[in-house]
């Protein structure tokens, strides 16, 4: 299970949410490294090995990207678009994890090729369950994509 050791990229600008997500993952016994990008640009830099992440081996793709939509600088949907447009990145599973359940956002996410769309519930217990399920599904049940060569 090579895949299960690859990091999870969490794109989330709210530190409280980031911490809670980390906590939820931990509660769900998901031990993969959690990389947190606080805006869309940082997420893209990490994925492309640019900027602050210059030199990072980009073949080391995250096992899954947990993507918030409302982000500073580059929005979540823009990040998704860029990932799907990039031949090196397009096979990474992307799960939108957001507060919005606006139909337009959901539709736009799927149009851009998101793998899953999860709305963060206010009730943390529900949120914790959702995160645990996500980890279980994307990191364990789902057959990982072969890396792009």
């Amino acid at each position: 299970m090579m895949n299960s050791k690859r990091p999870i990229l969490l794109v989330e600008d709210n530190p409280s949410d980031a911490e809670l997500t980390k906590r939820a993952l931990a509660k769900g016994h998901i031990s993969n490294e959690l990389v947190i990008a606080e805006d869309g640009q940082e997420a893209l830099d990490y994925l492309r090995g640019e900027g602050a992440y210059a030199g990072r081996a980009i073949s080391e793709t995250p096992s899954v990207i947990l993507l918030d939509l409302k982000l500073p600088k580059v929005s979540g949907l823009e990040v998704l678009r860029a990932v799907r447009a990039d031949a090196r990145l397009r096979r990474i599973p992307v799960v939108i994890l957001t507060s919005s359940k606006e139909e337009e956002d959901v539709g736009a996410g799927y149009d851009l090729g998101v793998n899953s769309y999860v709305r963060k519930p206010v009730d943390f217990k529900e949120f914790q369950t959702a995160i645990a399920n996500l980890g279980l599904y994307w990191l364990i049940l789902n057959e990982p994509n072969p890396p792009v060569r």
Partner: protein, 707 residues
């Protein structure tokens, strides 16, 4: 000549005879003379009768008394002529018998004639004319002619017999002489007879021709629409056509000669008389317009023309005059003048200027109104030798020239253009023009009308300016509205995303506290943290509901046929799944269809059915019904339950946002659901209302305007 020669020869022979012979010859001569006298008397008798008949016929046809004159004289002269003939034939009983018969026939004939005249006088004109045309009179006349002829033949026969007898008694020499003489006499008489007959025949033919021509003339004269008359050389009018009498209502006796003056207007009569007398004196044609009085007393204007009729020597023999009633013509002239005046006034009042441009001569006729429109005084066009193009505003000039070129081809045009007055004022004119062409298509005249439309044009320009401004304002407002809509969207998005994030944090960290530091907290502390979590989640629901309320007010509606029964069943399934422990009996009317936005209807029905589920929480079993009923003449959908119901006294607050009729501890809720339902129903053009009683359930009805 032969006749004269024979007569001389006879006289010579007779003169050379001895006395006895002479006596005999004288007897023979007397016989001949007698015979001639009889023939003559018979002829004149016939002529009298024919005159009487012709006169009577003329009278019956024309009604003119003067035709009766030959008839009147016939009555007296016939007696004398008859007496004469009777005496001449006194010794001849056969001729006397014929005379008796002739007298009777004549009497019958005359009686017939007087009967016709009497009928005519008693206004039985048709009956009188019928007598003429029935031919009764002609038959009698033919008999008279036949009898007269018989008498003449008899006399001629007698003459021969008598001469023969005289000859018989003479010696041979004398016999021969007498024979020759007798023969000559017979020839003479025969020739005389022939001549007499020919003369009489010619006379008759001329009379007939004259009569025919006269009748034709009268028919013609009566048929023409004019009054007409004929006068002698001295101006004595002896005949008028029937129209004269019809028009004036006067009688021939009143009108004869100079009697016509009585139907003249005394004011104009002296001038008429002066002119007429002058014309008579000079023998020149006369023409004048003067009034004549009609039978009803009204004067009509007449155009009178009189022509002299000259004989072969050039002398005026008669005058022929016509009077033409020009009342109508006068009326037409007056009406025309009035119309022209009215047209002029109308153009003045309506400020219409017109022109006619004769393309052949280049001469234009313009009204002063037209010139005023171009800022010119009356006659200004001609005086300034200005052309139309010169006066048009330079910007419109080329177009104006094109209009004129176009109109020559197309025949008409309609356009607006600006003119610049000499004082610099710019005015807007509207013009129509059209070309009249001859049969070959060659343009003859360009005619047209202009009106000053400056005020209208300025108003139009103002209107279009205002419209443009309005459109600009609408665009502006639309942009503003769109911007504010976007803002609202962004706001809703923020509410959805940013307000929920801290709630999640509060909940999450409260839970973390409970999980990780449960031992440090006592029961109350844990209780408080649970309260914090419950309120946080309530806040989350409130935000979701508010978002929904805002969402149903925004966005376009997609109207379509909606299977509302199917929709209700779908929602019911969801509700059952959400609370599987509840025992609820749903009754959904099958086959219901609504016309509306499916997404919005789903939200409304979810709220209504969800409420029903919620408020029947204490009922077992809970009964919830969805269907369609007729309410106050319109079809309404309804959701009925057997739940808690409510007091209708508070029904007014039912559909306001955040309005609740129940305590949260009894039934949870945010008070936004029914506000959302009402907004959806109203967006469909319908209405929603409720009927309920405390603990007896509630019924919510709604209509969809277009459904």
């Amino acid at each position: 000549m032969v006749l004269l020669g024979s007569a001389l020869l006879l006289i010579l022979i007779l003169g050379s005879l001895p006395e006895r012979s002479f006596n005999r010859a004288r007897d023979a001569e007397q016989l001949v003379t007698h015979t001639l006298r009889v023939l003559n008397a018979s002829g004149s008798l016939l002529a009298i009768m024919e005159g009487a008949e012709t006169g009577e016929r003329g009278y019956l046809l024309t009604g003119e008394e003067r035709y009766l004159q030959p008839y009147q004289s016939a009555l007296s002269s016939y007696r004398q002529a008859s007496q004469n003939l009777r005496q001449l034939t006194v010794n001849d009983s056969a001729q006397q018998a014929r005379m008796d018969k002739l007298d009777r026939l004549v009497e019958t004939k005359l009686a017939g004639l007087s009967r016709g005249i009497a009928l005519y006088r008693s206004k039985e004109r048709d009956a009188a004319l019928a007598l003429v045309f029935m031919g009764e009179g002609k038959l009698a006349m033919d008999e008279i002619r036949g009898l007269s002829h018989d008498m003449e033949q008899e006399e001629k026969r007698l003459l021969i017999i008598r001469t023969q007898a005289a000859v018989e008694a003479q010696d041979t020499q004398l016999k021969w002489i007498l024979r020759i003489g007798g023969a000559l006499l017979i020839i003479m008489i025969a020739v005389a007879g022939v001549i007499t007959e020919r003369v009489i025949g010619d006379h008759e033919r001329v009379a007939v021709a004259l009569r025919t021509s006269e009748e034709r003339f009268r028919a013609l004269a009566d048929a023409i629409p004019q009054l007409c008359w004929t006068a002698n050389a001295d101006g004595w009018i002896f005949w008028y056509n029937q129209r004269w009498y019809d028009f004036t209502g006067a009688t021939p006796e009143e009108m004869e000669g100079w009697g016509w003056q009585s139907v003249h207007d005394p004011a104009t009569l002296p001038t008429v008389l002066e002119g007429w007398n002058k014309a008579i004196a000079a023998g020149e044609p006369f023409e004048m317009v003067f009034p004549l009085r009609a039978a009803d007393g009204a004067f009509h204007p007449f155009l009178t023309r009189v022509m002299p009729v000259r004989d072969s020597t050039g002398k005026v023999g008669r005058w022929f005059g016509t009077n033409t009633d020009i009342t109508e013509q006068r009326q037409i002239e007056e009406a025309l003048a009035q119309n022209q005046e009215r047209l002029r006034m109308a153009q003045q009042v309506a400020r219409i200027g017109t022109f006619v441009w004769n393309l052949q001569t280049g001469v234009s006729q313009l009204t002063p109104e037209l010139e005023a429109m171009y800022g010119l005084p009356p006659g200004g066009f001609a005086a300034g030798r200005r052309t139309w193009q010169d006066l048009i505003c330079p910007e419109d000039r080329d177009q104006g020239v094109r209009y004129v070129q176009e109109v020559m081809e197309t025949g008409s045009f309609e356009a607006e253009w600006r003119v610049v007055w000499p004082d610099g004022t710019t005015r807007w004119l509207f013009g129509r023009a059209w070309v009249s062409k001859d049969d070959t298509g060659k343009p003859l005249r360009l005619m047209g009308a202009n009106t000053d439309v400056t005020e209208r044009k300025l108003a139009e320009l103002e209107v279009s300016r205002l419209n443009a401004e309005l459109e600009q304002r609408v665009r502006q407002r639309t942009l503003e509205l769109e911007a504010s809509n976007r803002e609202l969207e962004a706001f809703a998005y923020s509410v959805s995303h940013d307000l929920r994030a801290p709630l999640r944090g509060i909940d999450g960290w409260s839970l973390a506290l409970l999980e990780d530091y449960s031992d440090s907290l006592d029961g109350s502390g844990r209780q408080y943290l649970n309260r914090v979590r419950a309120e946080t989640q309530r806040m989350g629901t409130l935000i979701d509901d508010l978002l929904q309320l805002s969402r149903v007010s925004r966005g376009e509606m997609k109207l379509d046929q909606v299977d509302i029964t199917g929709l209700a069943n779908l929602i019911v399934d969801r509700l059952r799944d959400a609370q599987p422990e509840r025992s609820i009996e749903f009754t959904i009317e099958p086959g219901l269809v609504a016309f509306g936005d499916a997404r919005l209807l789903e939200i409304a029905l979810t709220n209504l059915l969800g409420n029903a589920v919620k408020f029947t929480g204490t009922q077992n079993p809970a009964l919830i019904e969805f269907g369609k009923i007729e309410k106050e003449g319109e079809m309404a959908f309804y959701v009925r339950d057997n739940g808690a119901g409510f007091d209708m006294a508070y029904a007014g607050n039912l559909f306001g946002a955040f309005q609740r009729l129940h305590k949260v501890t009894e039934f949870p809720g945010t008070g936004i659901g029914l506000a959302t339902v009402q907004r959806i129903v109203r967006r469909h053009g319908g209405r929603v209302w409720a009927d309920a009683r405390v603990n007896r359930g509630a019924t919510f009805c709604f209509t969809l305007g277009a459904a």
